[in-house]
Symmetry: C2
Subunit: 108 residues, 2 copies
DNA sequence: ACTTTATATCGTAATATTGCAATATTAAAT
DNA sequence: ATTTAATATTGCAATATTACGATATAAAGT
């Protein structure tokens, strides 16, 4: 008990859930929005932006990276992070599709 | 320690994170997709659909409801669940906006 | 009134997440 | 070579989530 039963669900369902889960924390939403704003990929700046300690930010970045939401490239001393378009596009098409199907009918 | 520092983030950031978090589990994605398919709002059927015990499903439904993703209406003996368009639309516009802003430039 | 059916809640074990201090790693700068 | 700067990892405490058996609740059928 206690662990999510991922094996009982489809790959597609697990994929969406994984991406959604990674975005299920305000700090990670804040990171996404900051990366969107500054466009260029910074890392130490993110630590300065957020009200969290450096190891905590590093951990959040790792989770976003594992979910495919951001990319990190070594740039000399520091590491350049940026948004990975693919994950956002997956979410985008997914919810757009749901929204369109919803418009066709109502219930309750 | 251990608890999310929601108070340090904006309401908008917390709202998106809350909705995303609720969708961050394959069972809840499966529920969303089932409700989308059957359109009419059933509940016991969801229990039959999912590979999880009834209390577990009930708990997932509660979380989806708390996040505003589904609605539940009493219908005599049983309870009729259905997707709440509002939350989906919030996600939809949010990620559409991010996607559009991303197209304007690349990095890394 | 009693039973059945449908759903929710409680209690609890297993596991996962959050956050951070301390420490490690790695590359640049001196 | 040593120091500095940037980031990651480790270890751990606090908290949250996941799952389910047992039980409660509430309406419908008998």
């Amino acid at each position: 008990m206690g662990a999510t039963k991922t094996e009982h669900f489809t790959d597609a369902q697990n994929q969406i859930a994984t991406i959604a889960k990674a975005l299920g924390h305000p700090a990670r939403i804040a990171i996404l929005e900051y990366l969107l704003k500054v466009n260029e990929c910074i890392c130490g700046d993110i630590v300065n932006e957020l009200p969290l300690a450096q190891p905590t930010v590093s951990q959040h970045l790792k989770e976003l990276k594992n979910a495919g939401i951001i990319k990190g490239n070594i740039s000399g001393n520091s590491i350049c992070y940026c948004i990975d378009e693919k994950a956002i596009e997956i979410l985008n098409t997914y919810f757009l599709n749901i929204n369109q199907n919803l418009l066709k009918s109502k219930c309750c």
